[in-house]
């Protein structure tokens, strides 16, 4: 018995040595840069709404920042709901989201600080060119009510694909249903085959809506970035309710001591700087013929936010 214990111990030790060898060598392969760079490269971890990522805007913004601040920016693309969840746990340094109501709650709970508005654009209701529900040029609320009515009557012809993932776009969709006079839980979800909950990002949702010749709500930026890949066309794009405001906040370091707060500050200040705002304004114009995002600078009235939220640097 004693022998077998000794034996087991020996095997475990050998195993541990092999394991250490394994991780040691491959760990070195995996991250060659941090060990070879003498000056410490800091890493900023951002959780972002999918639209800022799927359009390519964030990749365009991060490169100059990385150079200027000798930093590495890591981006996790998730819906606003997921991003806020990561933030609440202190698992990221910065969040870029677009849902004022939940942002306000997040700030009030003390999880986030220093919210700045960085850009805006508009949501559009897109659908098949044949427009089977006939919603073209209606108000958003009328259009939603019509899609529901026609969808309930003929789900083979009229469908709506929802993000269904607690994202900012999903939140906006719920607001439109509510404003149009419906109870989201009882009147919309599970009300019939016409309503499809995708449970995925904006780009993927557009692809699903395209496959199913269905209507969906999209931010104009992601729609334009996907325009060549799908046949859906914008049908409703007018209405105050379609305003889409993007913000950045950092995680409260007092609540979550591990977060990289100073670099998070730099990132926010970088985003509201005139040069970056110009980059946002010009982003995608060459490729898509129109801007995907409008800069926040100078447009606080359009967005209905305080001027300080657009201009004041974080200190």
């Amino acid at each position: 018995m004693k022998k077998s214990i000794l034996m087991l111990l020996a095997v475990v030790m050998v195993a541990a040595a092999i394991a250490a060898g394994c991780t040691g060598s491959s760990g070195g392969e995996a991250t060659p840069t941090p060990t070879t760079t003498p000056a410490e490269t800091r890493t900023l971890l951002i959780a972002t709404t999918t639209s800022l990522y799927d359009t390519g805007l964030l990749d365009a913004l991060k490169a100059p920042f990385e150079q200027e601040y000798n930093a590495k920016v890591d981006i996790i693309s998730a819906g606003t709901g997921t991003a806020l969840g990561y933030g609440e746990n202190g698992d990221v340094d910065v969040m870029m989201v677009h849902d004022r109501v939940r942002e306000d709650a997040f700030l009030a709970d003390g999880h986030g600080i220093d919210r700045r508005v960085i850009a805006y654009n508009f949501f559009v209701i897109v659908g098949p060119e044949s427009d089977p529900a006939g919603i073209k040029n209606m108000t958003p609320e009328e259009a939603f009510a019509t899609i529901r009515e026609k969808g309930l009557a003929d789900p083979a012809d009229v469908k709506f694909v929802s993000r269904g993932d607690n994202s900012g776009t999903h939140a906006k969709e719920k607001v439109i249903w509510k404003t149009a006079g419906f109870n989201y839980t009882t009147d919309i979800t599970n009300s019939g085959e016409w309503y499809i909950e995708a449970g995925t990002g904006m780009g993927a949702t557009l692809l699903i809506a395209d496959e199913k010749s269905a209507y969906t709500l999209s931010d104009i930026g992601t729609y334009l970035a996907y325009k060549d890949k799908i046949t859906l066309v914008p049908l409703v794009s007018e209405g105050d309710i379609l305003l889409n405001v993007y913000s950045v906040m950092r995680i409260n370091p007092e609540k979550h001591p591990g977060v990289n707060s100073s670099l998070a500050k730099d990132w926010i200040n970088y985003l509201i700087s005139p040069l970056t705002q110009k980059t946002i304004e010009e982003f995608g114009v060459d490729t898509y013929g129109e801007p995907l995002f409008f800069p926040a600078a100078g447009n606080w009235e359009t967005m209905g936010v305080n001027r300080s939220e657009v201009e004041d640097p974080v200190v």
């Binding site: 022998k3 077998s4 034996m7 087991l8 020996a10 095997v11 475990v12 195993a15 541990a16 092999i18 394991a19 060898g21 394994c22 991780t23 491959s26 760990g27 392969e29 995996a30 991250t31 971890l45 799927d54 990749d59 890591d74 981006i75 996790i76 693309s77 746990n89 202190g90 698992d91 995925t200 990002g201 780009g203 993927a204 692809l207 996907y226 890949k229 979550h256 591990g258």
Partner: protein
């Protein structure tokens, strides 16, 4: 059909030109899954041997449990590891979330049961007469075990290959604990998922071909080893 042809053409180009992004993603996949397989082997081999050759109450139940966990869903492993290493989790202080190390941890846990179970099966497969012969030749306990493991090496090697195959092909855990961060935690499977949702079919096909190629190399390696 056109988009498939276009996708294949683009995939071919990406692979032949050794596109840096594609190569980086492939390399990270290999590093993560090979490391996980190494660690899991280092645990599964001794544990499997110990379970096989020691008698203790509840042994049957344990083996049954191990076999049940062969089909452990990848997202459940992802969820468990996520809850463990999120900053307020019990291992949150390690700062492992959204790192390759977290993915290694998750994949190790994922493949441990199947590798342990297959190790037990491999050892059980050694002929009784060989066992008796080893004992009758007066082998010590250590000599006995090493001989048996040597006899079972082909089957054990196959167990390692199965574990590696499961690790490199999983997407659920990798996306939950890795976060699919470009140049950091993006591996073949999570990249295919993202690129398909962005309708970057060529890239997806290229990554898929590389994933299959890795499986092919590993399986060919196992066959060659077994035929020797």
């Amino acid at each position: 059909m056109g988009y498939i042809i276009d996708g294949l053409r683009e995939a071919f180009h990406l692979i032949v030109s050794l596109d840096p992004d594609v190569m980086e993603i492939t390399a990270l996949s290999l590093v993560v899954s090979l490391t996980a397989t190494c660690v899991a082997t280092a645990i599964a081999l001794p544990v499997g041997t110990a379970v096989k050759f020691t008698d203790f109450p509840g042994k049957k139940v344990l083996i049954n449990l191990i076999q049940t966990l062969y089909s452990l869903p990848t997202v459940i492993v992802g969820l468990l590891v996520f809850l463990l290493i999120t900053r307020h989790g019990s291992l949150g202080f390690t700062g492992l979330l959204f790192t390759p190390q977290a993915m290694i941890l998750a994949q190790t846990i994922l493949i441990l049961p199947i590798m342990t179970g297959l190790t037990i099966s491999a050892l059980s497969g050694v002929d009784e007469t060989i066992r008796d012969t080893i004992v009758s030749l007066g082998a010590t306990r250590l000599q006995f075990l090493t001989s048996i493991v040597r006899e079972a090496r082909f089957a054990i090697f196959a167990a390692v290959a199965v574990g590696f195959g499961r690790a490199i092909s999983e997407v659920g855990a990798a996306i939950l604990v890795g976060g699919n961060i470009a140049h950091r935690t993006r591996v073949l499977t999570t990249a295919i998922s993202l690129n398909t949702s962005q309708w970057e079919i060529g890239t997806s096909i290229a990554l898929g071909i590389l994933l299959l190629a890795i499986a092919l190399v590993v399986n060919t390696g196992v066959s060659l080893f077994q035929q020797r």
